[in-house]
């Protein structure tokens, strides 16, 4: 007779503990591999001077232009900054509208609810399967290239054009929206959809009128969150020559007009905070009610 088997002792370090440990090791290895030193965190003479001057202006942002020669009739700096902020919003909004179209179309195609709902067989099934696969691949391709790389690519291909900026943001954002939309639709409870299938409703109708409405609040909330990200991306595109906040910021920094830099930074922060507040409040309203 064998002794009754004792419950196995759990390992001293669980999967999560091990993960944590591995992460710390990975961090340390990266530090070594990048050849970093703690001393590198302290600026040299020149850097220190820049830092002093730059941070010295943190609490005294400029109200008027600090350029050495200011042509008469120049509008006050704040107006300038607000104009740039407005353009940042416009670029983000126009890009977002493109991204939304891409996201809705590809998101629906990439959702796997399509053929788990339908009882497709044979050729119909092959076609939907192929569409799904292509949609997934296109989404992955659009998402995996950063918006700034898209921007540089498009700039190289067609030269400076507003379309380049809009498309550069719209492609990766559209891909991300599509991915999240399809996941939200696939994860939404399907009881109502299946009941309606049982009442003879065609798959497309069930998908659109039972599954999508269920996922809609989350989809809207996510779209708002992405818009906040689009604002940041739009601002950064200024560094590549588009007339958003980034352009002004870079110019002022290069001319060492640090007061102006802080003005632009604060305007950008205010912009993001306003939209952060808006999307946060909307999310709470949509998702908890």
């Amino acid at each position: 007779m064998t002794a009754p088997e004792l419950p196995r002792r759990p390992p001293a370090v669980g999967v999560r503990g091990l993960t944590l440990l591995l992460l710390l090791v990975a961090g340390a290895l990266s530090y070594e591999g990048l050849g970093l030193t703690a001393a590198g965190l302290w600026p040299n003479e020149g850097g220190l001077a820049v830092a002093r001057e730059f941070f010295g202006r943190a609490l005294t942002p400029a109200w008027t232009s600090e350029a050495r020669f200011v042509p008469p009739g120049t509008p006050p700096l704040l107006l300038d900054a607000l104009g740039a902020a407005g353009r940042t919003v416009l670029y983000a909004a126009a890009a977002m509208s493109l991204a939304l179209v891409i996201g809705v179309v590809l998101g629906f195609l990439a959702s796997s609810s399509w053929w788990t709902l339908g009882e497709r067989r044979g050729i119909g099934r092959t076609v939907t399967g192929a569409l799904w696969f292509v949609a997934r691949a296109v989404i992955a391709a659009m998402r995996s290239i950063h918006e700034l790389l898209w921007a540089v690519l498009l700039l190289a291909a067609m030269g400076l054009s507003d379309l380049a900026a809009l498309v550069a943001i719209a492609l990766p954002y559209g891909g991300t929206l599509a991915k999240i939309f399809s996941e939200l639709i696939d994860e939404a409870p399907r009881d109502a959809g299946e009941a309606l299938r049982g009442a003879g409703a065609p798959a497309l109708s069930v998908f659109t009128f039972a599954l999508v409405p269920r996922a809609a609040p989350d989809m809207i909330a996510y779209t708002f969150y992405r818009f906040e990200c689009a604002l940041r991306s739009s601002a950064v595109l200024g560094f590549f020559g588009f007339p958003t906040l980034g352009l002004e910021l870079r110019q002022s920094f290069r001319s060492t007009n640090y007061g102006e830099v802080w003005t632009y930074l604060y305007v950008l922060i205010a912009l993001v905070i306003v939209f952060d507040w808006w999307s946060g409040r909307l999310r709470r309203r949509l998702v908890t009610t």
Binding site: V15, R16, T19, L20, L23, L24, A26, G27, S30, G33, L34, G35, L36, G40, L41, P43, G47, L48, V50, A51, F54, V89, A93, A94, M96, S97, A141, R143, S144, I145, H146, L148, L149, V152, L153, A156, A157, M158, G159, S161, D162, L163, L166, F224, F227, R232, S233, A235, V236, F239, G246, R250, F253, L265, L268, V272, D276, R285, L286, T289
Partner: protein, 307 residues
């Protein structure tokens, strides 16, 4: 019920239907913004398809053909040699550095975010976490804690409101071209994001266990370690990997500012007009982003299953 009576009733119910004004107005405003942007934006789209542009595109497409093969017949051997050369010379090291920057940055961000998230969580950063204890706190005491929460939250918003690229641009001017500016930029921005996410998670921990421990006389740090830690770990790890994914994405481009990573070589190839290298490196970036996504998805699945 008569037809007219029914219609009146329907109209009454319709008028009285509950509506969320804020949601409706938000959706309307957002829609108007998306459409209006095209009307007032004054984007110069007309010339996007002008003769000149199309010629540019045409030339670009010619130039992304591997350099040794431009004007030649396609040859696999030459292509492979070209690709291997690029990989050995630039790609391999740049990919390693890009991943290193992403890993170090997210580990730093997570470490920084932990204390911030506790200081920003209203359930912990209060004079009496979870249960009343002893003498009621003074008003001054209450205000001090509230001040801590407010300052921490403002700091976190500040950190995440500025894009990584801007942080890196500023840090580069001060610290010079080591990997630090890129690492710091990613770490700071993500501290802001993880700090907020972690704080929300801390606030959403059910009060049962921490309250019980407090009742046994455990202090703030003991509660954090013994009750909050285990409850939080899985979610913290999920957020960690999710943000690491975006760090890899961002790390590929930060190099464009002049830090030696993939972005640096991309910008360099672009400046030299070597569009073949340029596209090759962009695709390399896409490949590591995809690989990062896969690793992150796998790791998140692992964490989810373990909890």
């Amino acid at each position: 019920m008569s037809g007219a009576g029914r219609d009146l009733e329907i109209d009454r119910l319709r008028r009285a239907r509950p509506r969320d004004r804020f949601v409706r107005r938000s959706l309307f405003a957002f829609g108007a913004l998306l459409v209006g942007a095209w009307l007032v934006g004054g984007f110069d789209l007309g010339d996007a398809f002008s003769e000149q542009r199309l010629r540019n595109v045409d030339r670009f497409l010619g130039e992304i053909r591997p350099y040794p093969l431009q004007g030649e017949a396609w040859d696999h051997g030459v292509f492979l040699e070209w690709a291997r050369g690029l990989w050995v010379e630039k790609g391999a090291l740049a990919v390693g550095r890009t991943l290193g920057i992403a890993v170090l940055a997210i580990v730093l961000a997570a470490l920084l975010a932990l204390p911030f998230s506790l200081a920003a969580a209203r359930t912990v950063a209060t004079p009496e976490p979870y249960v009343p204890s002893g003498r009621p706190p003074t008003r001054w005491n209450r205000w001090a804690w509230r001040g801590l929460v407010g300052v921490t939250r403002t700091g976190l918003v500040f950190l995440r409101a500025l894009p990584e690229y801007v942080w890196a641009y500023l840090a580069l001017a001060i610290l010079g071209p080591t990997a630090w500016p890129a690492v710091l930029a990613l770490a700071l921005h993500n501290t802001g994001i993880l700090g907020r996410l972690y704080a929300e998670t801390v606030e959403n921990v059910p009060t049962g266990v921490p309250a019980a421990l407090r009742g046994l006389g455990a202090g703030r740090t003991q509660v954090a370690a013994a009750a909050l830690g285990p409850a939080l770990l899985p979610r913290l790890l999920l957020f960690f990997f999710y943000r690491w994914e975006t760090c890899v994405r961002e790390a590929t481009v930060l190099g464009m500012l002049g830090v030696v990573s993939l972005g640096y070589h991309i910008a360099d190839a672009r400046v030299r007009g070597r569009h073949d290298e340029f596209v090759f490196l962009v695709l390399l970036g896409a490949a590591i982003v995809l690989a990062g996504d896969l690793v992150s998805t796998w790791a998140r699945g692992l964490v989810r299953r373990a909890s």
